[in-house]
């Protein structure tokens, strides 16, 4: 069975208003794929529908060969995909360590959990220093690391990252993107949603450009970063 995520003809609506109008894309094992688009294009909506946070109106979502369309998110967890939501969604009243352990809620194998915990704390030494601290007291960048670490704790191989660079200072933005590269090199698959198109295309293998709920252009990152429409709309017209 092909590993990865495959979405076909996805439509999502909020009440009567359709926000995503039949979107298809694929994320294959080992790839970094980016989904870029302006504010309100529907990027977060797509991720939420894929991970079962909101219902799918039409279309199919297939994860590692299993159709999971409209499954509630708690049933999808543990099948190999984790979603780091927009705004991080940290449990502020839990400690850093507890946040990470919630990520492993569905896992039984104590050894594997401990192994992943060591891996995550090694990846983010700042979290290791602040293990006992309430997560709400972390800085924005640290919270983003925690959100990614927590997703890794679910044991997932495919990560859906919704604007990990949001609200971060430029230096931190760069380190978050470096972390994405590290994680990908460790064998994870990443679907990266970004408004920071330049950065996203720099690290991605392929990309999709979303415009008001439909995919306008897609292709290799290299091709997209030279495409005139992408240059004009998302890369500030720079040549």
């Amino acid at each position: 069975m092909a590993k990865g995520l495959s979405v076909k003809g996805l439509k999502v609506a909020y009440g009567n208003i359709e926000a995503v109008h039949g979107v298809s894309f694929e994320v294959n094992e080992g790839e970094i794929v980016t989904l870029i688009g302006a504010n309100g294009a529907g990027k977060s909506t797509i991720l939420r529908a894929v991970s079962g946070m909101i219902p799918v109106k039409e279309g199919t979502v297939i994860l590692n060969g299993t159709e999971i369309t409209s499954w509630p998110s708690h049933q999808i967890t543990g099948l190999g995909m984790a979603h780091v939501p927009e705004g991080r969604g940290i449990f502020t009243r839990l400690t850093v360590l507890e946040n990470l352990l919630v990520g492993a809620f569905k896992r039984k194998d104590k050894k594997e959990i401990d192994g992943d915990l060591d891996y995550v704390l090694g990846l983010f030494p700042r979290l290791n220093e602040r293990k006992k601290q309430l997560a709400g007291t972390l800085s924005g960048g640290e919270q983003q690391m925690l959100a990614v670490g927590r997703a890794l704790m679910t044991g997932a191989d495919i990560l859906l990252l919704d604007e990990p660079s949001m609200g971060l200072a430029p230096v931190l933005v760069e380190s978050i993107f470096n972390i994405c590269i590290d994680i990908a090199e460790a064998g994870k698959t990443i679907l990266l949603v970004e408004q920071n198109a330049a950065m996203a295309l720099a690290i991605a293998d392929r990309g999709y450009v979303l415009e008001t709920g439909s995919i306008a252009i897609h292709g290799d990152a290299e091709y997209l970063s030279k495409h005139p429409d992408v240059l004009n709309a998302y890369l500030g017209g720079a040549s």
Binding site: S51, G52, M53, P72, S73, H74, T77, G78, A82, H83, P85, G89, F91, T92, R93, L94, E98, L101, V102, G103, F105, K106, R150, T154
Partner: protein, 290 residues
């Protein structure tokens, strides 16, 4: 001096029971975002069911606590999905819908109790009833001490469950963000059911303890609904630590007002206090509420 110490001890002892009621009530609010207007009626039902079982089986009410917990746990577990439907049907007014629904439940419970059991007062008798311990000239009724100890044990087990178990961790996560908890594999519908069930179970147990100290009647509920509101607002909405502090404070206030001002002024003075607390600390005594 002796009267003062006696008053303080009485207040602390009764405060233990208020902690048990408010710990569950606070958790219910923190996780489900439901303010249960029927809280006092669960107290009343807990007291009555304990009375009925105890008088027909001659088992001491203290020994019946586990059974009462299980019975009311099941009742809450079965009722919660209906409550959940009411809230999710009208998301924008969830808090109001929950209040209306639980108000309806409270009227229903009280009406049914009145029809079945009438207005008569009943007394729950335990092995500790009527006995007392004398310590340095202070008289401590064994029953109050016993109920206090039970209330504290129940509350500690509850806190341990919440802080130290895997399920408790899931509850605390869901209390903050049900959608994100879902992404972590936590089924929030199940959490909601269990949390409501724990709350009804705990509240009914408090009812049994209260019934052992005071007399039981079908009108007793309202008093405890008001007390629960006092504790939860004074302690800070959603803060369990705050509820513990406020529970003790409520016990002490009750005791002092009854002795030094007069029992009929309890609610008046309580709400004056609540007003002052909210003015000085709008987020509750410990400043940890919403």
């Amino acid at each position: 001096m002796e009267l003062l110490i006696q008053t303080i001890i009485n207040g602390l002892l009764i405060g233990g029971i208020y902690i048990t009621i408010s710990a569950g009530f606070t958790l219910c609010f923190g996780v489900l975002h439901v303010i249960d207007f029927a809280v006092g009626e669960w107290v009343m039902l807990g007291a009555f069911i304990t009375f009925i079982i105890s008088t027909s089986t001659h088992i001491d009410p203290f020994l019946l606590l586990p059974l009462i917990f299980v019975m009311f746990f099941i009742a809450g577990y079965l009722l919660q999905p209906t409550l959940q439907r009411v809230i999710t049907k009208n998301k924008s007014n969830a808090l109001l819908m929950a209040l209306a629904f639980t108000f309806g439940i409270s009227v229903l419970f009280k009406g049914a109790a009145l029809t079945i059991w009438g207005f008569n007062e009943r007394n729950l008798v335990t092995i500790l009833s009527g006995k007392s311990i004398s310590l340095l000239g202070i008289n401590i009724p064994s029953l109050r001490l016993g109920t206090f100890v039970f209330a504290i044990i129940i509350t500690i087990v509850f806190l341990w469950f919440l802080q130290k178990t895997r399920f408790g961790l899931a509850v605390r996560a869901a209390a903050e963000r049900q959608d994100v908890a879902g992404l972590m594999g936590i089924d929030s519908n199940m959490i909601n059911k269990v949390v409501y069930a724990i709350y009804t179970g705990l509240t009914a147990c408090s009812g049994a303890l209260i019934g052992a100290i005071f007399s039981i009647n079908t009108e007793m509920g309202v008093r405890y609904t008001i007390f629960a509101f006092f504790v939860v607002v004074a302690g800070g909405l959603g803060s369990i630590e705050g509820a513990i502090v406020a529970g003790i404070l409520l016990g002490l206030l009750n005791s002092f007002i009854s002795v030094y001002i007069g029992g009929q002024y309890v609610f008046l003075v309580l709400f004056l206090f609540l007003y002052l607390i909210l003015l000085a600390k709008p987020k509750g005594l410990l400043g940890k509420g919403w």
